[in-house]
């Protein structure tokens, strides 16, 4: 029994309010996560259809740490292929994105089509009848590894495992929230933000599921009426580790003014008024009053709506104490110009310089520095000790989705 097994055995399954810090610092556990989680029965987000709109478009991405390339073939079908030559392992695609009928490895020029099938291996028959591959060599047996792919709206997910339940079942009660944004309309990529955070990737997943921290760590939220603890909120948490958090503008006295007048309310901070209040005033484009929403799709993905900023966030684990966060800001191709302009203004709320996101990196790196030796454990008991959000009251002061996340994680790594 190794140290990882001992850790998991000592951590009783009913003990959801304690999270041993060792899970954030143990390098062996990080290796195990690669196999059991990222290459296990989970769905990883790899991109959106708007990134590969045309036949033969490709774009590189990752599933966990494994490099992949998503492609659209000549018939319009989407493939997710491991970006590793079947011959000697070089990356077949080294550009971030592009358009090509053949994907050609630089090392020995093996070339593949957009479905990953091997189409050419130089000197297959040798040179002047000498050497060449053995007679039993079949190109059909040396294609790029192809992952299972499923799509919802314009999102593209992939999994290594045949055991992963269908994507729609995996998303469960969060599916309608995904389809609220990815509703089948054509989307357009406005741009990307990338940040590298010096902490374990799971600290970010906890953060995505942490309704309790929002108005405490991010003073801008409450100060300018975007989110307040008194607003009505909802928490979804699925057994798969998928969760959804969102709150309704106008459901408390303090945010009612914002909703009804369309003007920012700065009552929280006396004497502090925004010169450009449009940064916090949403268009409520989805036919509801949700001002901020965050869907965390275990193990690598989040979708967020912050006023009119729509973003996907991909979590890319790099090492036990380091991950990249890739934000893709989206709009719809039929956006009216004034709504499109709001997406750019509201993009100031998110990303590495976002008014309600920049603090997350500071907090996570601070945790990682403080727990470096992996002793002791976190206390995660706000809103009870269970993992069922149905048992929580209708506000956001809760850590229930974090407890649910750890249940899903433990089921996979144990």
């Amino acid at each position: 029994m190794d140290a990882v097994d001992r850790l998991l055995e000592d951590w009783r399954p009913d003990q959801l309010t304690r999270v041993p810090y060792q899970v954030f610092v143990d390098a062996d556990l990080f290796q195990r996560e690669d196999e059991r989680i990222f290459r296990g029965p989970t769905w990883s987000f790899v991109g959106v259809e708007a990134e590969i709109p045309n036949p033969y478009d490709f774009r590189t991405s990752v599933v966990g740490r494994t490099p992949v390339v998503m492609t659209r073939d000549g018939d319009g079908a989407v493939h997710v292929l491991v970006n590793r030559c079947a011959h000697r392992g070089a990356e077949v695609v080294r550009d971030v994105c592009g358009n090509a009928k053949r994907l050609r490895c630089l090392y020995h020029a093996w070339s593949y089509d957009s479905s990953g099938a091997l189409r050419g291996a130089p000197f297959e028959k040798g040179l002047a009848g000498q050497a060449g591959y053995p007679s039993e060599f079949r190109k059909a047996e040396h294609g790029l590894r192809s992952l299972r792919v499923e799509r919802v709206g314009g999102t593209i997910f992939a999994t290594f495992s045949d055991e992963t339940p269908p994507l729609r079942d995996y998303l469960g009660s969060v599916l309608p929230l995904v389809e609220r944004i990815f509703d089948g309309r054509e989307m357009v990529v406005l741009g990307r933000f990338r940040q590298r955070i010096q902490s374990n990737w799971k600290l970010y997943f906890e953060n995505l599921k942490d309704a309790y921290h929002a108005t405490l760590l991010h003073p801008f939220l409450a100060t300018f009426g975007l989110g307040r603890p008194t607003m009505e909120g909802r928490i979804h948490a699925e057994a798969s580790g998928v969760s959804g958090l969102y709150s309704f503008t106008g459901t408390d006295e303090q945010s009612k003014h914002v909703f009804e007048s369309g003007e920012a309310d700065t009552a929280y901070a006396k004497g502090l008024a925004l010169s450009a209040p449009e940064v916090v005033v949403s268009d409520f484009e989805f036919g509801d009053t949700i001002g901020a929403e965050n869907l965390a799709i275990f193990p690598s993905f989040a979708i967020s709506q912050t006023a009119n900023a729509i973003a996907t966030r991909q979590v890319v684990p790099l090492a036990v104490d380091r991950f990249d966060l890739v934000w893709t800001l989206l709009g719809y191709s039929d956006d009216p110009p004034d709504l499109r302009a709001k997406r750019y203004v509201h993009a100031n709320l998110v990303g590495p310089a976002g008014y309600i996101s920049l603090e997350d990196a500071e907090a996570l790196e601070s945790v990682q520095r403080a727990i470096v030796e992996g002793a002791e454990s976190a206390y995660v008991a706000m809103g009870g000790s269970g993992a069922d959000p149905a048992a929580t009251p209708g506000n956001m002061i809760s850590e229930v989705a974090i407890r649910s996340f750890w249940q899903a994680w433990r089921r996979l790594v144990s």
Partner: protein
């Protein structure tokens, strides 16, 4: 106004940020002055009708003043200082007292007790309006690389 004046203006700009004089930083911009930090990849392969997206985008001075207020009163961050290095500064006359400015930049960030890192590297593009003092009608930082951690103080 000439290239040497622009170089001195960039030095004063960097000093304001280094010393956390954020209100002075905001005063480097005209009323309709635009400030942006844009990742280089957002300038490449844009879809039809899409304008480049900034990590920070302040379409006019009001947004710049709000950024300062937010940093002072509505965000949480750790202590840190920047050190800007500007190079290859080129300023061309546009007429009517305006100059087009290009430069390369590197910003090092130091957090206590004393660890420095290369925080951002890239180029800047600006339009400077002559006056007393000269101000930026636009200032765009195009960063080549990802952001280490987060960005609270503007570049």
């Amino acid at each position: 106004m000439n290239e040497r004046d622009v170089t001195r203006m960039l030095a004063r700009y960097a000093d304001a940020l280094h010393e956390w004089r954020l209100e002075d930083w905001a005063d480097f911009f005209t009323d309709d002055g635009r400030y942006e930090i844009i990742p280089r990849e957002n300038l490449e392969g844009l879809a039809d009708g899409v304008t480049p997206l900034g990590i920070i985008s302040c379409p006019d001075r009001r947004f710049i003043d709000d950024r300062v207020k937010a940093i002072r009163k509505a965000t949480v961050y750790g202590p840190q200082v920047y050190r800007h290095l500007f190079g290859n500064v080129v300023a061309d006359e546009l007429g009517a007292g305006r100059m087009a400015v290009r430069a390369n930049y590197a910003v090092y960030r130091t957090k206590p007790p004393g660890e420095a890192e290369l925080f951002s590297v890239g180029k800047l593009e600006a339009t400077v309006v002559d006056g007393d003092p000269a101000r930026f009608a636009s200032l765009r930082f195009v960063c080549d690389a990802l952001i280490p951690g987060y960005i609270v103080l503007p570049l």
